[in-house]
């Protein structure tokens, strides 16, 4: 049985639905990420689990018990807030010790645990510092130590790296994952950044407009996005509309030509589908294409050097713009205006079928 079970939770504010029939589970020791653009309802969902908001309908179960009526301070969960919400009138030690004092632990035990936590997040020596004198990264560590100190069985993190700059985020992302895995607790991690979710989570739950649109391991989600919207949200922008032309083997007719795809789907001939072409699918070709490749001819719109790779934007005569990452070994770089022929690898493509369910119409 799962440690945390969220069942059919719905919530509206002033007639506007924020969460619509949301269900998911988290197993003991699992790090689950709620991933979605801002305003998708992920923070509200987190606050409902924490007991800071009440759901209009649905149920939250923890360790086999319904916790809906339990006020936040009796749930024994940990929550790390987006802006950290450190107590400005307390120093670092007093912030970290707060939750322990609420459990009425003996003073010596509290002190020992605080020392342990500060060492864990790398803040030994910061004991008497005032929290508003700390840098963003240091505040983030204090907040993490504070939410970990009482030893919660479930830790929730709301955009914990959201207010840090990119370089610091990269460092702390890895550190955070190491700490969470080291402690081995169950965590729900809310973020709008797919890289962060992929790096930290065992399983990601993608949300849009108050609904869960896909869940799975980071690899599975990236390999097979459930819809064009998910693909675009994950930064996979080469989406080519098409129509199923034949079934055995599946062939899709698109503006770029006929795609022969190896995957089997429950499809009908004539069904509208989308072909996702990953940025790494292309290589320049000099008439040496293999049979499985799709050959794409187009005009170079832009080509920019990005270090490890070159970002190439190709305009097809149908008007479609496609972006590819070419290995930077390619010399010379294609120039804008040139005509270029690319071979697209079949294994870097996926077939996306628009979900015909109630949310289908909303997915752009």
């Amino acid at each position: 049985m799962s440690l945390l079970e969220v069942t059919s939770v719905s919530k509206s504010y002033a007639e506007a639905a924020v969460l619509h029939d949301v269900s998911f589970r988290a197993d003991e020791g699992e790090i689950v990420s709620l991933l979605g653009p801002s305003g998708c309802g992920k923070t509200t969902l987190l606050r409902i689990i924490a007991g800071l908001e009440t759901a209009d309908s649905g149920q939250v179960t923890f360790d086999g018990r319904v916790v809906d009526g339990v006020p936040a301070h009796r749930r024994g969960f940990g929550l790390m807030f987006q802006d950290y919400a450190l107590f400005p009138h307390r120093d670092v030690v007093a912030n970290v010790a707060f939750g322990l004092r609420m459990q009425d632990l003996p003073r010596a035990q509290v002190g020992a645990r605080v020392v342990e936590m500060l060492a864990l997040v790398g803040l030994a020596g910061y004991e008497r510092r005032r929290v508003y004198d700390l840098s963003g990264g240091e505040q983030q560590r204090v907040a993490l130590a504070r939410s970990l100190a009482p030893g919660p069985r479930l830790l929730m993190l709301d955009e914990p790296l959201g207010s840090l700059d990119r370089a610091l985020r990269e460092d702390l992302m890895n550190e955070l994952r190491a700490i969470l895995n080291g402690v081995g607790l169950t965590a729900v991690y809310v973020t709008h950044d797919q890289q962060e979710a992929f790096a930290v989570a065992d399983r990601v739950i993608i949300m849009n407009r108050g609904r869960i649109v896909q869940q799975g391991t980071p690899q599975a989600v990236y390999r097979q996005p459930a819809s064009p919207w998910v693909a675009r949200f994950l930064g996979l922008g080469n989406l080519i509309p098409g129509r199923v032309a034949a079934l055995e083997p599946p062939r899709v007719d698109t503006a770029l030509g006929l795609f022969v795809l190896g995957e089997a789907h429950n499809l009908d001939v004539g069904r509208e589908v989308t072909v996702l072409v990953r940025p790494n699918a292309a290589r320049p070709t000099n008439n040496d294409t293999s049979e499985e490749d799709v050959v794409l001819e187009g005009k170079v719109h832009d080509c920019s050097f990005r270090g490890g790779h070159c970002r190439l934007v190709v305009k097809h005569e149908s008007g479609l713009n496609l972006s590819f990452d070419l290995p930077s070994g390619v010399e010379p770089l294609p120039q804008p205006g040139e005509t270029i022929t690319l071979a697209l690898r079949l294994e870097s493509m996926s077939l996306l079928v628009e979900d015909a369910g109630p949310s289908g119409g909303q997915l752009v």
Binding site: G51, G69, A72, H73, G78, F87, F98, M102, P150
Partner: protein, 567 residues
Amino acid sequence: MLAIRKGTSTRPGGSRAAARLVYLFPLAFLGLFFFYPLAKIFGLSLAPEGRLNLEPFRTLFTDPYYARLLAFTAGQALLSTFLTLLVGMPAAHVFARYEFRGKSLLRALTTIPFVMPTIVVAAAFTAFLGPQGHLNTWLISAFGLDAPPVRLQHTLALVLVAHVFFNTAIIVRLVGGFWANLDPQVEEAARVLGAGRWRTFREVTLPILTPAIVAASLLVFLFCFTSFGIMLILGGPRLATIEVEIYRQAIPFFNLPLAAALALVQMVFTFGIMVVYTRIQARSAVPLNLRPREATQHRPATWGARLVVWASVGGLMILLLAPLLALVDRSVSLGGEYTLRYYQALFTNPTQSFFYVPPAVAIRNSVLVAGGTVVFSLFIGLISAYLLMGPPGPVKGVLDPLFMLPLGTSAVTLGLGFIIALDHPPLNLRASPWLLPLAHTLVAFPFVVRSLLPVLRGMNPRWREAAGVMGASPARVMREIDLPVIARALLVGAVFAFTVSVGEFGATLLIARPSFPTMPVVIYRLLGAQGSLNQGQGLAMSTLLMIVSAIGFILIERFRVGEVGEF
């Protein structure tokens, strides 16, 4: 750990309903001690014997005495406002545009008169400009005169000077505060386009400042319109505002219906002014490019600029500090020597009958009343502030001005309401020791609300949630998070309440029992009595009251968060 009992869990909805009940306290308090007495004033003025009888109003509208009274009240208020602007504007400009040594101290000093009880100001001006005051003594000895040359006792001029003394702080704070954030580039643009210094001021600066000037002027006008202590003591028997007349009708003549009718007329005027003031306040929020003060101020560079700075600030300081210093000096000097005789005399009761008790007992009374006021004000003010804390809504839009209403009602009217409404059943508090603290709380608790609100609004709601998630119960959150954060604001509110109560004169004069006088009441009696010992004791008592107020002022300046003196 999880303590889950199905069905018996404390749902947030349940505790919220209980919390709502607490919010009834301030509303019940206002209803009982503000609106009910006000309604009684209404009733008594319109139906003195229980039947509709417009006799009091007929007197008001037919007797030319009352037409003159209204004209004089408005006229002197207008004149006072004009003079206050004349004194306050240069200082506002200097404080807004120049950076100079000791500026923050000097700026704080300008606020001192504002926290001084009217009775102290009246005593101070008697000591400074009275027949035996400093100015006359000095002129007599300097020019060998026989009689005091400056005869301001019981003249309008003396009243006007005192009004200017009192209200300059409002102009300096309100107009100067707005001016300080005004982008100087607007003025520079006008200069570049060819406007001279004066033209720039007239066509650019002044129009932008106008809403702030009008709002501040209305406030000054309102205070002078309802001037009581100054007019009663410095104006003497021949000068009276409506406020003074209400007191005279109510206490010496005991014509309560006429007093009530006068109070009603005055209220119509004051509330009218308040409505205009709030409108202008709301409209003065024009989309200006306001700049941080550091960017708008510079040191006076030329000798001319230095002269302007020192003349206006120096002049202001003389006006503000000289009377107070004169008061202290007069209270310790007797026949050219320094002595504490007046202070010692406060603890005796030589005439045995006239004052009922030694004057020093009034100090104890004042402290007791102020203590009660602090407790009531913190209780009511704290709940009110929590009620007003959240995001603005229709309910708060009504409640916010409602809680400020007692401040806009004249003190004598409040006292009159207490006399009329609370001296017979169902609420007979005439002899209750709680009457004065309750009356003072009406005027004091809005200050508590105003000091708490910015802090409460500045609190991150996540702090409470974070504490809750970590296991702190609502009561514990209150103790561990709210209380430490608002402690300073609470202290400021308490000091405000104490200072307001100790100095309150108008309402106190009406409702204090003769055997239980507070410091302002005793000062009033002493200054009104004959003999230099009585006068000296009055000045000594005034000095003590001034020191208490000054300490309160220092504490407020030291501990306040943001601008609590906002109106």
